[in-house]
Symmetry: C2
C-alpha cells in the first residue's frame, strides 16, 4: 500500500475530476467508467471492504469484493438485495443520525485527521444561522463526518466522493501536507472547501512565535498527558452524576455551582454540560410541597443559580415527558396540569425572592449551552470581579 509519506504533493498526480451525480438523476453509466479505472486498485477501499466483509462474516471473495465495491461507490447504484434489507422506515435513526447513506438535501463533507469534533462543532454552529431554511423549511442539509483520515489515499477518495455528491468540503487537517492536498484538489475540481483550523492555527503560531506540531489528536507523536486538568474534569463529571436530582444534599458545599429549579427546567443536562467543562455541579429539584434541603441555604449563595421557565412551555415539555414515561393519568395531571405547573413555579419564585443573591436564569427558548454560557459568565464575574467580565483559562 502506498503510504502518505511516500506521496509528496508535487509527485502525486492529481486525477481528473469525477463527474457530479445529481441525486434526482442518478446515472450509473457515467460513473462506472472512471471508477472502474481509478478505484480498482484503491488500497483504502479494499481495506474498508475487507474490514466489512470480515465483520459481516462474508467470505473474502476477491471477485465479489470488487463488484460490491464498484456498486457501493455510488449510493444510488446499490445492490438491490442490500437496499431491500434496509428498513428505511424513517430518515433519521433513533440516535438522530441518518440510518441511510443516500444523499438527501445538500451535503457537507467534514474531513479530519483527528476526531473531527471541531469541524462538527463549527458546522453545527454555522448551520444555526440557516435555521430558517433547514429541514422543516424544505432545504435539508446532510453532514457527513470522516474522522481519522490520515493518509492521502483516503483523503482523495473522500474528496472524489464529495465531487460526485455535489458536496462542499470542510476540513481540519493538522498535517500540513494533507491540508495543502485538500486545498489544491478541491480548487482543481471546483469543490467549495473551507479550512477550519488552518487560519486560527497560523494566527496562533505567529502570535506565539512557535511552529505548530502538525500532528493531529491521537497521532503517535502527540502523547495525551494525564494532566491535572484531565483528572479534574473526570472528577467533576463523577461528582455531578452522583449529585444529580437532589441526591446527597449534604455534599452541596463541595459543588462549584448549585442549580435549583422545578422539574424539566433542564437541570440535569445543564449540570452535565457544565461538568464536562470541569465544574462540579449539584442540582436541587424544587417540588411543591417538598421542603428544600437545609444545606441549600447554608452554602455560599454566590454559587447558587435559580432556573425559571415560562409555564406554558413547561407544561408542553412535561406533557411530552409524562407521556414518554408512561405516567398514569392521575400522576400525569398532577405533574403537567396548568394549575399545578403555575403553583410550583410560584413556589420556586418565592424561594428565589427569599434568596436575592441567587441569580434567576430564564431558560425558556434557550439551548442548554446558552444557559450554560449565562451561568458561567455570572459565575466567573462574581468569583474574579475583574474589570471586564471574562472567563479566563490557562494552557
Amino acid at each position: 500500500m502506498i503510504s502518505s509519506a511516500t506521496l509528496g504533493l508535487s509527485s502525486h498526480r492529481l486525477p481528473p475530476p469525477p463527474p457530479r451525480s445529481s441525486t434526482s438523476d442518478p446515472n450509473p453509466k457515467s460513473l462506472s467508467e472512471p471508477q472502474a479505472r481509478k478505484h480498482k486498485g484503491s488500497p483504502q477501499l479494499n481495506r474498508w471492504s475487507r474490514a466489512r466483509s470480515i465483520r459481516s462474516g462474508r467470505k473474502l471473495d476477491r471477485l465479489h469484493q470488487r463488484t460490491t465495491q464498484r456498486l457501493e461507490l455510488n449510493p444510488q447504484v446499490q445492490n438491490p438485495k442490500e437496499s431491500e434489507k434496509r428498513e428505511v422506515t424513517s430518515l433519521t435513526g433513533s440516535d438522530g443520525y441518518d440510518d441511510v447513506e443516500d444523499t438527501f438535501g445538500k451535503a457537507i463533507f467534514m474531513v479530519s485527521d483527528g476526531t473531527g469534533w471541531t469541524a462538527e462543532h463549527s458546522v453545527n454552529a454555522s448551520l444555526g444561522q440557516f435555521e430558517h431554511c433547514l429541514v422543516d423549511r424544505g432545504c435539508p442539509v446532510n453532514t457527513h463526518l470522516f474522522s481519522g483520515i490520515d493518509d492521502v489515499e483516503r483523503l482523495m477518495e473522500i474528496i472524489k466522493q464529495a465531487a460526485k455528491e455535489g458536496a462542499m468540503v470542510v476540513y481540519t487537517l493538522a498535517d500540513p501536507s494533507l491540508a495543502e492536498h485538500a486545498k489544491q484538489v478541491c480548487k482543481l475540481w471546483g469543490i467549495p472547501a473551507t479550512d477550519i483550523l488552518g487560519p486560527i492555527t497560523e494566527a496562533i503560531a505567529s502570535h506565539l512565535g512557535v511552529l505548530p506540531s502538525g500532528l493531529p489528536r491521537g497521532a503517535p507523536g502527540r502523547n495525551f498527558p494525564l494532566s491535572e486538568d484531565y483528572f479534574r474534569r473526570i472528577e467533576a463529571i463523577e461528582f455531578t452524576i452522583k449529585q444529580d436530582d437532589g441526591a446527597l444534599p449534604q455534599n452541596l458545599h463541595k459543588a462549584d455551582i448549585v442549580l435549583a429549579g422545578v422539574s424539566r427546567t433542564g437541570k440535569t443536562p445543564l449540570s452535565i454540560y457544565l461538568a464536562q467543562k470541569g465544574y462540579k455541579v449539584a442540582n436541587v429539584p424544587i417540588v411543591k410541597g417538598v421542603k428544600l434541603p437545609k444545606s441549600l441555604f447554608e452554602v455560599d449563595p454566590e454559587k447558587v443559580f435559580g432556573l425559571t421557565i415560562n409555564p406554558v412551555v413547561l407544561q408542553t415539555i412535561r406533557r411530552a415527558r409524562a407521556k414518554s414515561l408512561g405516567f398514569s393519568e392521575e400522576v400525569r395531571s398532577n405533574y403537567s396540569e396548568m394549575d399545578h405547573v403555575r403553583e410550583e413555579l410560584e413556589f420556586a419564585r418565592r424561594t428565589f425572592a427569599q434568596n436575592p443573591v441567587w441569580p434567576v436564569i430564564e431558560v425558556t427558548g434557550k439551548a442548554i449551552e446558552e444557559t450554560a454560557a449565562v451561568i458561567l459568565r455570572l459565575y466567573h464575574d462574581r468569583k474574579h470581579k475583574c474589570s471586564m467580565p471574562r472567563i479566563s483559562k490557562l494552557y
Copy 2:
C-alpha cells in the same frame, strides 16, 4: 446608551489605538491618559461596574465608581487593598480556570455575540498543536472568553483591552456589522485577528444559495425550537446517568452503546460524552471475581465495546484515585497493586476474547473525545454499512 443599531460602521469614528502594555513592564502613567479620556463615558463599563456594585452591596457612589473603573482598566494598576485580599496561592483555581485576571503568558481574546463555545472549542483544538510549548514548557497561553457581546460599545472596549494586553483576537460574531467592525478595528490597530465562523458561514451560504440570518444564538429573532433532537439528547443523558457503573443491567438492551472495561478505563466520562451527542450509553464494570451480568451477553454484540488500557498507566491512575478517595491501605493495595491490576486486565482480556464481535478499544494515551471518535466511527460503520465509513446527520 448608544446601541449598536444606531452606530453604523461607517459613521462610527474609530478611536486611535491604545498603547500596548508589556506585562513585565507595566507603565501606569502611559495608560491612564487615554483611558481617562476614552472610558470616562463608556456606558458599558458603567453598566459592568454598577452591576458589580449592586451585587457586592457597595453603594452606588458615582465618584468612587469612576475611580475604581479607571484603576480596574489595567490589571497591573489595582487597588492595593483589593489585590492583597486575593489569595493568589495558585494560578489556576479549583475549576481549572484562572483565579486571577492578571495577564500571564500570551493572551488570546475570544469574543462572541453568542455563547462563545465555538471559539473556545476551536482555540482549544488549535492549541493542541502547540502542546510542545505550553505551560509546562515555559510558554503559557491565557485565553479569555467574552461571550454575549452584542453591541459595538462592548466590542470596542474588549478590542481596546486586547491591544493593551498585547492579545490576539479570535471572534465568532454572527451579526455581520459587528464582525466587520471587529475586522476593521483590529486591522487599523494592528491586532492579529481571526474570524472563526465567517468563512464557513459564507461557504455554506453560497453552497445552499441562502443568506445566513446574522443572528447569534439566543437572539430574540432566533427562537430555540423544542425539537425532537433536543428531547432525544436530554433523554440520552438521563438514561446514561441512571445506567452508570453497571446500574440496572436489565436495561442494557435499551442502550445504543454498551461499554465494558475495568475500573478507571474512562467508562463514565466516555459514556457522558457520547450521551451529550445523543447516544444512550450503558457501561458495565469488569471486576475480577465479580460475575458479569447475563444481559451483557444477550444484547446485540455489535453495540458492545470493550475498553482496555496499559497496566502501568492504569496503576498510576488508580493510585491517584485511591489517594484522592482516601481508601484504606488494604483496599488501596488491592485496587492499585500491579498484580491485581494485571489479573483484572487479564480477566477483561479473556472476556473480550470470548466475545470476538466486540471491538476492543485501547484507551491508553487517548483523550475521552478521541476514544469517542473511534467508537462512533465503528458504531456508524457497523450500523450503516455504507461504502465509505462516515457519520451522517440530517439538519
